[in-house]
């Protein structure tokens, strides 16, 4: 059993799996049960300023999209920050932290973009004994209409300014949670770093409308016939979140800035992928909301088995794939592959044929008796057939060895690496020194 003990910006937890700030962490009852189930830490549901708490809608607040068998692939919500009294939350945080000293307790905060507001709340949070704070600059609905959440997260100057206040009035680590509703994720990350953030966490939810009721013409979830865009999360957002994490990890300005990875993490494998792309730990929301707290058991056993099998420590894993994330222009154009169909595995559904014939390169032949074969002279190795084949491992991409003939181009495969920057078709190609 690999050691999963995690030290993220000095905050220790028995494993790198934290619950993200959201309904699972909204109150003492939940968080105690989460810790009992084995979660390494929690980011408490976002607190607002002292005074009357925000109110939520009283109708449905979630919408969903499904895969086969109603498997939940994407969730969207129009929930706001905690709708419970600030002091109730603070007392609960203090009590739970005292009872679970080995778990990470982070407090998420969102107050107006004024120094006084932050100056007022930070000492109260400090007093709970929590291990750090997370600044919610991500909530894309409701709170952003009031100049908070994503409205701050979309303006790098505000991020820098607020982060600086927090570092000034709070002694423990400050994590800045980023919104993905922005063109270039590196900009807010750089701003957070300039403001002195100890880490960034991402992603918060993505602006979304999950469905429209075609009878009532209301977006879902529908509140009295009207809908508002919500925040999208769950498995469907994972690819977007991972790309953003990797951008920050490999950006020269932010390289080395600790990252807490969030977005669609459902299994140990998802978690490992985020960590390989540079996340020091991960946070989970939708998966817990879908299956309950127990999923952490699988995450723990799975990650541990993987690390054991690879003979890696948790630290070894973090960022291990980052050097392999590169720009398109540096991809090796002399790497030539061809699709190969295993006739033993093929169930003759013909999907590869339909896909290639109708929408790609007419590189798969179909015989009278439904034998499907790749025509090397046409196959550009696009991978579409692999992606649409319902049988895992039935179609594979096989590399042509150097010296072999690529029947499509008529060229012999070169052993040398060569990319677009030096390609003869590139008008801006760097000429090799003569």
């Amino acid at each position: 059993m690999a050691d999963l003990t995690s030290d993220f910006i000095g905050i220790k937890s028995p494993n790198p799996f934290w619950l993200a700030s959201a309904p699972p962490t909204d109150k003492e009852y939940n968080v105690r049960r989460a810790f009992e189930a084995g979660w390494g830490g929690v980011v408490w549901k976002t607190l607002g300023a002292e005074g009357l708490p925000v109110v939520n809608v009283n109708g449905p607040r979630y919408g969903a999209i499904y895969g086969a068998d109603r498997r939940l692939l994407g969730l969207n919500n129009i929930e706001l920050i905690t709708d419970r009294d600030l002091y109730t939350n603070l007392e609960e945080i203090k009590r739970v932290k005292a009872d679970y000293p080995d778990r990470a307790m982070i407090v998420s905060i969102m107050v107006p973009c004024e120094e006084e507001a932050w100056k007022a709340i930070l000492p109260l949070v400090e007093d709970t004994g929590a291990d750090g704070i997370e600044l919610n600059f991500g909530c894309p609905h409701g709170m952003s209409e009031r100049g908070m959440g994503a409205a701050v997260g979309q303006v790098p100057e505000y991020i820098e300014m607020v982060t600086r206040w927090c570092k000034q009035y709070y002694s423990k680590p400050v994590i800045v949670k980023l919104t993905p509703n922005i063109t270039d994720i590196r900009k807010p990350a750089e701003a957070a770093k300039r403001g002195g953030a100890d880490a960034v966490s991402l992603i918060n939810t993505i602006n979304s409308i999950t469905s429209v009721n075609l009878d009532t013409m209301s977006p879902e979830p529908s509140i009295d016939g009207k809908g508002s865009h919500g925040g999208y999360c769950g498995p469907a957002v994972k690819p977007i979140a991972m790309s953003m994490v990797s951008e920050i990890a490999r950006n020269a300005e932010t390289h080395g800035l600790p990252i807490s990875g969030i977005g669609g993490i459902t299994t140990w494998r998802d978690a490992a992928e985020f960590m390989a792309l540079g996340a020091g730990n991960v946070q989970v929301c939708t998966a817990a909301m879908t299956y309950g707290f127990k999923i952490v058991s699988e995450m723990i056993s799975g990650l541990s088995q993987y690390l054991d099998e690879k003979g890696m420590s948790l630290d070894d894993l973090v960022g291990r794939a980052v050097p392999n994330v590169t720009d398109w222009q540096y991809l090796n154009l002399n790497y030539v592959t061809k699709a190969r169909i295993s006739q033993d595995d093929c169930i003759k559904c013909g999907r590869c044929y339909a896909a290639c014939e109708d929408t790609s390169h007419q590189a798969i032949s179909m015989s009278e008796d439904r034998v499907f074969e790749v025509i090397d002279a046409e196959c550009v190795a696009c991978n579409l057939c692999v992606n649409v084949c319902p049988v895992e491992g039935c179609i594979t991409m096989e590399e042509l060895a150097a010296g072999a003939m690529d029947e499509r181009t008529g060229n012999v495969v070169s052993p040398d690496y060569a990319n677009w920057t030096t390609h003869p078709n590139n008008p801006g190609a760097i000429k090799a020194a003569e």
Partner: protein, 445 residues
């Protein structure tokens, strides 16, 4: 009633009414909305799908399943009915394990095909429950066609012709329409009087009149039909049965399985139906299986299917054999009947083991007796009452192309015609195709 499975002889009410009711409910419960979505999600939407090729009526299966998956079972039903107007019955009775589902790529992939039959039922039931008929009749053409037999072949033919605007008169010898859908199919495949409901729904197309109790060669003649109509379609099925050629065949308790099943299908109260304590069914096809299973479900203590060849040669599919075995039916292979023993009524069947060499089946000389107070013969149906002057082929009406017989202006399809398996879905396909051919011919003139 105090009868039980152990009551000697042939007796009714061997099981309490609740048990009978339970035994004769749907063999496969219908899918509910969620189950249908889950089942539909499994379809890969294959290119040039092999399941379509395997369906005798060429239903566009991937399309109708996708229509179910996207919440439009009504459109799915139309896709089905377009090719097979008895898609509701076929969904219940098709041996899908040897047709569409056998060809499904997921059968190859994991031994679990997409549940095409049950999905087909889901779609067709949805539309039929609403009572809507999805097709409209073309303007009347003034042409008339006589159809003999209101079974699947005749009904499919009549519907297609009516759709094209022709006027159809169906003649059927029996008092009810449906053919074997009404009189032959096992009860648990077609519950709640589905056969009649389906015919009522089908007739909504208009332009079809059915004359019941009117037999060709009895009440009407071929010559009259040819004279009075622009075309004639024969879909009369196989009315005769083969003889057993065993001694004692006339003893009480020896009946045709088809007749036994027809009585069962027509019974208003299953507890009035007599069944033997020891039932022996002779034969190896669908009829044998159905008769055996239903005898068991009526409460017979011992039911044995006696088949003269080996298991591999049995026409009933492995699935059907398993179904029978699961209900407690016993199989004896490689044995044939010699004599029905008994004094007036049957008490036992004397059998002889067989040796199969190529197509020939010979007795080995070794015999055995099994108790039998009821012997059901399921050894094949034969063409009965075909009009004179028609060329036959292997005991059936010879046809070429889309059901053309040797007489001009006369078509045939379904069980009575040569070619194709004797299945409901095949009868539908042949009736439909003959209708298109008839339409082409009579529209020319």
């Amino acid at each position: 009633m105090t009868n039980s499975p152990f009551t000697p002889g042939i007796a009714p009410a061997r099981l309490p009414e609740e048990a009978l009711a339970r035994n004769f409910t749907d063999l496969h419960a219908p899918l509910d909305g969620h189950e249908a979505l889950v089942a539909a999600d499994r379809c890969y939407f294959c290119h040039d799908a092999p399941c379509i090729t395997a369906c005798p009526t060429d239903i566009d299966i991937p399309l109708f399943i996708r229509q179910i998956a996207t919440g439009t079972p009504e459109a799915a039903a139309e896709t089905i009915f377009d090719q097979n107007i008895l898609g509701g019955m076929c969904a219940r009775v098709c041996p899908t394990e040897t047709l569409c589902e056998e060809a499904c790529v997921r059968e190859a992939a994991e031994g679990k095909p997409v549940e095409i039959g049950r999905l087909q039922r889901f779609a067709t039931d949805t539309v039929m429950a609403k009572g809507v008929h999805p097709f409209e009749r073309a303007p009347a053409t003034g042409k008339t066609v006589a159809v003999v037999g209101a079974g699947p072949a005749g009904l499919a033919c009549a519907h297609r012709l009516a759709m094209h605007g022709h006027s159809v008169t169906i003649f059927d010898a029996r008092p009810k329409p449906g053919g074997l859908n009404e009189y032959g199919i096992a009860s648990y495949k077609s519950v709640d009087n589905f056969a009649q409901a389906e015919v009522d729904w089908l007739l909504k197309i208009g332009g079809i009149e059915i004359k019941y109790g009117t037999a060709l060669n009895g009440d009407v003649t071929m010559a009259a039909l040819q004279a009075d109509f622009d075309a004639v379609f024969l879909g009369m099925g196989l009315g005769g049965v083969n003889a057993l050629r065993a001694e004692g065949e006339t003893r009480d308790g020896v009946t045709d399985a088809v007749e036994f099943i027809a009585d069962l299908r027509q019974a208003d109260d299953l507890s009035t139906l007599p069944v033997g304590r020891n039932v022996v069914v002779i034969g190896g096809g669908m009829t044998a299986i159905d008769a055996a299973v239903q005898s068991k479900l009526l409460g017979a203590e011992n039911v044995t299917v006696l088949y003269r060849r080996g298991r591999d040669a049995m026409p009933a599919s492995a699935y059907e054999q398993d179904l029978a075995a699961s209900k407690g039916v016993r199989f004896i292979f490689n044995a044939m009947p010699l004599e029905v023993l008994g004094n007036g009524a049957a008490t036992a069947l004397r059998c002889e083991y067989t040796k199969v060499e190529g197509r020939s089946v010979q007795g080995t000389g070794e015999t055995f007796d099994i108790p039998a107070d009821q012997v059901l013969k399921a050894i094949g149906q034969t063409l009965d009452g075909a009009p004179d002057g028609l060329k036959l082929d292997g005991g059936k009406i010879a046809v070429t192309g889309a059901g053309r017989t040797s007489l001009s202006g006369v078509w045939a399809g379904g069980d009575c015609a040569s070619g194709g398996e004797d299945l409901t879905v095949t009868a539908v396909a042949e009736g439909r195709d003959a209708a298109e051919d008839i339409h082409m011919q009579i529209s020319k003139a």
